[in-house]
């Protein structure tokens, strides 16, 4: 276990003796916790272990090297951070990379969810729902009444003149005939699919471009060498 922690902390080939030592102590404390014969010992081991894990993590920033997560940190940040609901995403990603397009994909996914949700709600008969609530409201709990009211408001939304399906204006969507609604829903989803494909291709292009850069001659000397061989430098680079 200690060896595994060392490896995962990127300390395997470093000369950070203290880091490795702490990792093995964590493993030892975990084992002590598992094998403790009474609660007091277990808690003591767990507490020391938790404390040590925090120390290890706090040391991480001061380690001279051996941080394989360093490059992942911004990606993780993008993936894990809850998006700000008021932060409307622009149509273009801040960065054309897999992680760069992710917030926009997230946005598309969110819109898709709303489209499905609104399509489902629009099928629901508004008047019947209102009547049922009026008839049985007294028999329901406050929470149930509030939930139903919320649902009715959401259905009413689809009947509005300014309703938008996904991000597309769709006035009175909820009162349209079923076939028309289905057509609008599919159109909206197709648009999202197209946008999703566009973002994917942006990320792929960015990756390919990076690889091509790495293959290119690094110095002017190499270009000259290529010329000296009789091969046009540009042709060589192109190859």
């Amino acid at each position: 276990m200690g060896h595994r922690i060392v490896r995962e902390l990127g300390l395997k080939d470093s000369n950070d003796t203290l880091g490795r030592w702490m990792a093995h102590r964590i493993a030892q404390l975990m084992e002590m916790s598992d094998e403790a014969e009474n609660e007091e010992d277990r808690e003591k081991a767990q507490s020391e272990c938790a404390d040590l894990i925090l120390r290890v993590w706090s040391r991480r920033s001061s380690w001279p090297y051996g941080q394989p997560m360093e490059k992942l940190a911004p990606i993780i940040k993008k993936l894990a951070t809850e998006p700000n609901p008021y932060d409307r995403r622009a149509g273009e990603p801040e960065e054309t990379s897999w992680s760069g397009v992710f917030p926009l994909l997230d946005e598309i996914h969110k819109r898709e969810r709303w489209i499905h949700q609104d399509a489902a709600l629009a099928e629901y008969p508004l008047d019947e729902s209102k009547a049922w609530l009026e008839e049985h409201g007294d028999d329901l709990s406050d929470e149930e009444v509030n939930n139903l009211k919320y649902m009715i408001q959401m259905i009413e939304r689809t009947h509005d003149d300014h309703f938008r399906l996904g991000d597309k204006p769709s006035p009175n969507f909820g009162v349209l005939p079923g076939e028309e609604r289905t057509r609008l829903v599919l159109e909206a989803l197709d648009e999202l699919d197209a946008e999703r494909r566009r973002l994917r291709s942006l990320a792929v292009q960015a990756e390919e471009s990076e690889e091509a850069d790495a293959d290119e001659p690094a110095t002017g000397q190499q270009e000259q060498d290529a010329d000296a061989d009789g091969t046009p430098a540009s042709e060589d680079r192109g190859a």
Partner: protein, 961 residues
Amino acid sequence: MLEGYVSEPSVLPWEETLGAVTALDPASGLALCSRWDDEDRLLLKSGVVPVVHTATEIRYLQPEQGLHLLRLAGERFDISTDALSLMERLLVMGSSARPRLAEMIREVSDWIRRDILPEQRERAASRVVAWADANRVGGLSGVAELRRISRYLEPLSGREEGVSSYASTIAADPEYKARRRKEVEAEDKASKAALCAAVADARLGKFDELLERYDVYRRGSYRPSREGDPDFFDEVQKAVPPGGRERYLDALVDLGDDFLTVRSLVRGVAVLALDRALDAWRGSSVAISWTTQGVGGLLRRHLPDIVTRDYNARDNLRAILSKADLVATPTSLLLPAVADHAEALDTRALYDIADVLVADLTSAKQGEVFDWSIRRVEEMVARDEGSLPELPPKQGPVGASTALAGLLWAAFGHPWKPVRWRAAHAARALLRLSTPALLRALIDLSKSKTAGAFRAEHLEFFWMSARAWLLVVLERLADERPDTVRAEIGSIIEHALNPDLPHAQIRELAKRIALRLAERDPGTLSEGMVEKLRLSNEPSECLYPRRSSYSLRLGNRLNDTDEERVGFDDMDTVPYWFTPLGRVFAQGPRVVADKAGRWIVDQWGRTSADWWNDPRELRRERLAGFFMNRQGSIPRAESLRLYLFYQSMQCVAGELVDELPMLVEEYDDECPWTHWLEEHLPTSQDFWLADLRSPTPFRQESWGYYPPIEEWLRREDPAEFEAALGIGEPGHEDEIVLDGYVEDWDRERRGTMKVMSALVSPETSTALLYALQTSDPHNFRLPYEGERLDNGASEISEPGFVLKGLITEWRRERRYLDEHDPLTRGIKGYLPQLGRNFLQVLGLSASEDLLTYSRPDGETVAHLEVWSDNPEERDYITKAFSTGERLWVRTEVLLDYLRRRDMDLVIEAQIARNVERRHGGENQIEEREYDLGKSTIYILRRDGSLETMAGRRALGTSHST
């Protein structure tokens, strides 16, 4: 005198002559053995042995003096045989000499255990032990230690073949092994068949194919004879019927015409078989009729094959010519053969034949021949207008002290530094014998510029070297026997303050001696003199402000060469000797070279013509590599040229330090003058590096006993790692190694063993054990006390995680005068020491020589063991040896320290083992990855338990728990 009139100088009995001269006049014997060395006749290390033997026999030298003088015999000399005769002389003096005998046995014991070649030790120890037991002095302390060698080696040498390093133990490639086995089986079969056929032929009296069958029998020359195999010619001879004997004898001498076959058969077979057959059939009619004619025929046909380039030639000739049935004299048989083959006989063969012939003469005839020979040489000398040697003017008997001093003084000025050092060790021991007359004589010689009859008259005597080495000895003596040296302090101060020879090295050594004597007895010198000495040979001021020598553009070459006057070389001397010296005083090499030139040419009257014709250098062309100061190194041997360059540099150094301020550069953290000077002085003021060496420890590898190489390379047995900690090693039952480094070598192995240790916080020590044991051992290093490096070797002090060094390192990075002392055996100035905290906590004190640590009551609780059997001057390794240093601490003391510090100890034992590549033939062994080392980590708890990843157990119990 005879040297130029003999065809082969090596046949002259140099050593016997020295013995005879010593018997006639011992002082002349001592002088002659030194002078012959200088004249390139007989090396001092060979000549000193018969001289000591005779000089002690006639009681010119005391046995102890003889013993110490034998240090000059070099490192390959086995002291044990000569020591016995010296001890014998003390033994017969009776009980009054018993303390002297005890002391001598102790010294001989140390010498055998530490200084003779490892492969000589067992036999030498047994020899002395047997003598001591036979003379009822086996209980003396030195004997007990020698006895332990035999006891230790006896069970090891009794092992099966193949475990000692002296036998090849590399596992062969299986395919090669199988093929070789088949070949051997086929050869064995053919061999047996050949013997059977030869015996069958012999029974029939047929010998036409005798030698061919023998050739098949022995399966070519590469097959070593095996014990138990029948002797071919014995078996054949037994089968010969009486009627076939003559034909058999004829067959033995009818060896064909092939030169190499004949020579091989004559030496290996024919002479021996003939000898045996003629002995067996002595008195028979065949023997009587065949011997004279047959032996004569053999000699006439094959004399050169018998005698040329064969160390057994005399014995073989004597054997053939001593047959009972010979009816002719050896002379009558041998001389015609010599006449026939005169052109083919080399000088040595002729000497061998003459030696056999002379035995055929009566004593009177022998005397006549000798007279004739002497007369003939004298006539030749006269004809060549040469001169016969003049006997030195008789000065009356010269005392032993004077003669010894002359010999030592000459050796101090020897071109070879190892000889100077051997003389230094001998002199130190001789002067410890409380012999003021010897000291007085040496002090007198210290003012001399010659070595009289002790060196060649026509060759330069290196008197400044001699003076320096004498002072090196006196520096030790001032420390060890200050009372002995004190009487001579006046002469020593003269050297320290000598205005005519401002030789920095000599002045510094003399200054140190005088100050050491004053320190030991403050009344020895006046305060004013002490102050004067302290300020002597030191710069009086420094340049201010500090600046870099680079900014001064001093350069490191002479722009205009001075070929005619001196011709200092711009390759080594100027950039690496003169430039660093000049830099100390902000001067360029030109200033140093000019001053050095004045010393050499104007003061000493030498020019380049002298050293380019230096006979010593010219006759040692093969050893030119030793006469070099490549890149500033101090040469192992001095030619006249290097001697003058070096000594002039020392004189210039003295002038500069007297005249100029010193340049302390911006980055200098030590005195540049001291830094420059220390390379020309012994490593320490408290000991010579060689003093640190202990006898070889009782580790099997150190005595050349190894497991088979495949097993050795695996190093899987935990006991091997524990052996690195010294656990279970004889004589160290209650001790453990805290720090050490060991190298094991033999002709097919290279092994290293490293031990390091540090204090660790107990609650997390197990985690450290796992952390280190699962790491690449090259990603960490346990820290020394106070160490803080970026490479992972640092003390750690975090809550719950404390790793503290308890060892420090005594380190001398540079080369010192001891570098060429053959008794240092290449040990380096990197030695582990117990750290300050360890000493403070336990109230221990360290000895000045770094070797022992004692409690206030004097009890030794830790010691440093340093050993080396490295033969150094070797082209390749043929015999096993080891070197190492280990810091041993008594276990109970260590545990006490751990308890007081409330800490555990983490220990790393690392072993790396590799095969010498030269032995990796394609059929013998596959290419191996170089082994960087594998470690085992131990935690030694305060309660005395030892923990590894395999578990925990009491220290000293089996590792298998």
